[in-house]
Symmetry: none
Subunit: 215 residues, 4 copies
DNA sequence: CATGAATGAGCTTTCATTCAT
DNA sequence: CATGAATGAAAGCTCATTCAT
């Protein structure tokens, strides 16, 4: 029985991932994590060293493959488009699709992580600045160059702002928090339904990116 | 001398506002607040009753006037437009303008609060759900109806999503956290400069709101 | 009733003093201290800030007066002897007497402290090096000069060594630990009896200090 | 390659010896030991059973030969002196010489141990009382009888005190902790230099032992 | 023979809160 | 009106030890 029970490290990571999303890093105690993961309290420090390091492990477990997927899609797009203009929609989808497939992870851990990622970036979390910058900066640079090719009419500042706004709204959509409390009682079952996200999010982001400039 | 030093309650509120933005609610201890405010530790509980209640006070001090300002602008718009179609841009600005004037508060407290508001909504903070719903729900209802008039071609679900996305990106822009770390080394001095925000944010949000539907 | 019960800080200091002597600093937990002092565990950090700071407080409470007493005796000796040669025995007693009167403290706290002082010096405790050097270095300088006057035939190195050895044996005698386990079963009730100490210790130290040089 | 690397047990003993001296028994964790010794954490319990037992092993590895050396010197002295009076200086040197030759151990382990021995005795460590009494009591008894022969004019109590004081100061000198912080900045390179110790220590101890009685 | 994993107990410290004054 | 003192709870972390392999 329970032959499929994941090992200690994995159970800790899974529970921590969920609790960090639900309550935030600070409000999640190691005791909450270890009780739900049914492991000894000291196991966290044994396997990860500290609460901070646990956060980093939770983060990196999923971030590295996610970024790799995005960059792979980007590679493909750039190869296909070669000398032609890159399509904005392709770029947007090259980011959204890997996020969505992570969201559809049957164990639900992936969906948790997408929300954790969004929340962490939006909060500008302390632990993010210190450790994750390396991997993430490659990601940002690649997308910056790609968007530059796709939207050549925008100057550097314009482009930076539009990317900033576009990724903000995408991350927030994935975070699944309803800032307007609109969906709480509506028939729309869940703002976190992946297909809903793509249906409504993509046109919104696209329009914002290609909008004519003011004046 | 020191006639301009605010009283105990106000000093607590000001410091708490800043620290809640900088470190988040959980990571901000009453000791941090009372030390920086140079008041007795027990003063917080004396004046506000609890840390939760302090948060609510911090929040309400600015939220009520802010919502009032927004609704006043909305009243004016609706009066002017009466039977005509409401302009989307007017609606967007009726929200952004009060936020910006708060951001320009010379004591900087207002700017702090706008970030706190954004951060709290994005985090979907526990204390928000419990206490602030009343005032906030009036705000949401008024804007929902106004956008319904301004964008009659959208069905309920479409409209809900677009508002959700639009307010997400606006709140995030005000929160001032750069999810892409794009602005850190660029010549763009600060992503939090209010006028930059309106220059780039409004066209983006407008375009997203009025975008043609997919398919 | 219990009108004479010392206040929280004092109770903590008294118990800590005893336990630090009995078990050493590291082996004494705050729980041991607070349980015996019948105070809340958090009281230590409230009143002293940390375990390290508690140690320093325990130490300084008695060290400052003790050093003051020694230096007062030294002042008197130097005033009396003015141009004459200082008597070695006087110097030795100017240190031993204040230690002994502390040892005879009816509350026994003083006796504890003399042992703590000895033990701490002999262990060369980490906390000693950092904090207590100031006061202590004045003490050392004054005695160094006095012994130089009392033993002018010794060169600097000789004098340093003899003082080192003399104070070592005095501190050890006050520490009351029987390195030879000689007294354990003997009729000598206690190696810590202050008068015994002076009876046997003074001649031993004196002889060592004034011994003819080798060769 | 690395043929000279000692085996696991020895590496643990060597590191433990040093760390026990540097930080004391309680403040030295098994993790510190096993990390520096580059062995598995469980190896300590595997090879020695417990931290207490490790301490005992560290202690006994060197104490047994040291005591044997001292007693051998004592045997020789007593054989030579047979019916004559035993020379005090010979007795003192019969203890100091083995300690010094241990101090000069080229691997420095011996020097560490002499300091550990001194420190442990001066601290009156718990583990000392329980385990080491057997061997040590033989040592004490032999020296007690020898000093009785060498100093027949002293009554039992006098003798016990003088031995107590004499061994105290010798142990402290070997411990190498400068209670007066005199040597820190002086030209005297190190209070732990073995030859310095014998040059200054022996006359001091001798004088104290043979001092005329008070009054 | 040795080790990676795990554990229960305990550590110091900080928390928000209360209360007598 | 305000505060110094005190408190119970809980925090993150480290401890020596055990055990299956």
């Amino acid at each position: 029985m329970e032959a499929s029970r994941p090992d200690t490290s994995t159970r800790i990571l899974d529970v921590a991932e969920r609790l960090f999303v639900e309550h935030g890093f600070e409000a999640t105690s190691l005791r909450m994590i270890t009780q739900q993961a049914e492991v000894n309290l000291a196991a966290v420090n044994y396997h990860f060293g500290s609460k901070d390091a646990l956060f980093e492990s939770v983060f990196m477990r999923r971030l590295a493959p996610l970024i790799a997927d995005c960059l792979a899609e980007l590679d493909k797009l750039e190869a296909e488009a070669s000398e032609e203009k890159l399509a904005v929609e392709g770029l947007v989808l090259s980011f959204i699709r890997p996020c969505l497939s992570l969201s559809k992870d049957p164990s639900r851990g992936g969906a948790m992580f997408v929300r954790l990622l969004s929340r962490t970036l939006v909060e500008n979390h302390r632990l993010l600045r210190e450790t994750i910058s390396q991997q993430y900066s490659v990601f940002v640079q690649r997308y910056s160059r790609a968007f530059q090719r796709a939207l050549p009419m925008l100057d550097t500042e314009q482009l930076a702002w539009r990317m900033h706004l576009a990724f903000s709204v995408m991350f927030n959509a994935f975070a699944g928090n309803d800032v307007l409390k609109i969906f709480t009682r509506s028939q729309i079952v869940s703002a976190r339904d992946p297909d809903m996200i793509v249906k409504y999010l993509v046109p919104f982001v696209m329009a914002g990116l290609v909008a004519p400039m003011e004046g």
